[in-house]
Amino acid sequence: MSDTWVDGNGLAGALRELFAVDITTARGTCVGCGTVGPVAGARVYTRAPGVVARCPGCGGVLFRLVRGPDRAWLDLRGVTCLEIQVPDSG
């Protein structure tokens, strides 16, 4: 069944709509099993209303993203922490 999913690289555009920096390189910690990894490495299921990203370690839901015409819903239920690289403010 591994071919039914892609990975978080393909969400770069959808997430860049919402954030000022690239979120696919951010490292997230899974609520369920504690696995830490880049958003790019999440298992992403697109055959759903919106997209569902799951932990590559335990399969638990990390986050869900639904886009409407004029708003987006980002449900981060399975991520305890996102470590995000930000530009040095100098």
């Binding site: 591994s2 039914t4 999913w5 555009g13 790019a40 530009p87």
Partner: protein
Amino acid sequence: MARAAVLGRLSWRVADVVDVVEETSTARSLILDVPDWPGHRPGQHVDLRLTAEDGYSAQRSYSISSAPDGGRVELTVQRVEDGEVSPYLVDVVEPGDRFEVRGPVGGYFVWDPDDPAPVLLVAGGSGVVPLMAMIRTRGARGSPAPFRLIYSSRTPGTAVYRQELRVRAESNPGLEVAFAFTRVPSTATDAGRRRVGTDRLRESGWPPDLGPTCFVCGPTGFVESISRLLVDAGHDPARVLTERFGPTGG
């Protein structure tokens, strides 16, 4: 890891198709002119949006295959038989047509041309596209980083960029290219070489103790298999970067 960059607001831009190149019977490169293109890093992709006259729109993500070159951006698209967008891009679009793109996006599956470390590229099918951007950028920049590409495709005829890769392997010092064809009728001599496995990765790749950066791109099952073999062989999991595009691509 490269320092995070300040990024402008991501907006849709109108791209003009200036040329098309038939790569195989099922894949085509589209050469685009994108005004105000901010430049890209090899491995990044764009989101592409088609909008019908009735307002219906469809959006997909495609890897950039060209080295950075002003406002010129090349995408290579593989036709997905039951797809909604790729058959149009491969069979219908012609020079003079326009559609919208936004990007470049993606900062994870990206090669840094200033990094001199050896690089192993492993491609399954049209997963070669972002890796080609890395090979072309290496050539354009005159990077001394040693590159090895292992490219798995069904047959020689379905291998995208096959001629250019052969030419580059002869003319670009430090670039080695190994093809693996999974559906060529087997002979006694090549039967064991058709599918990329542990032996092939050892013969045509780099030993883990050289600390190479590994980029693996292709269908999900292929990437899962190759990345596991690389880690089992002793490669640092943090240096095995992966990009999966599903069962057959976008």
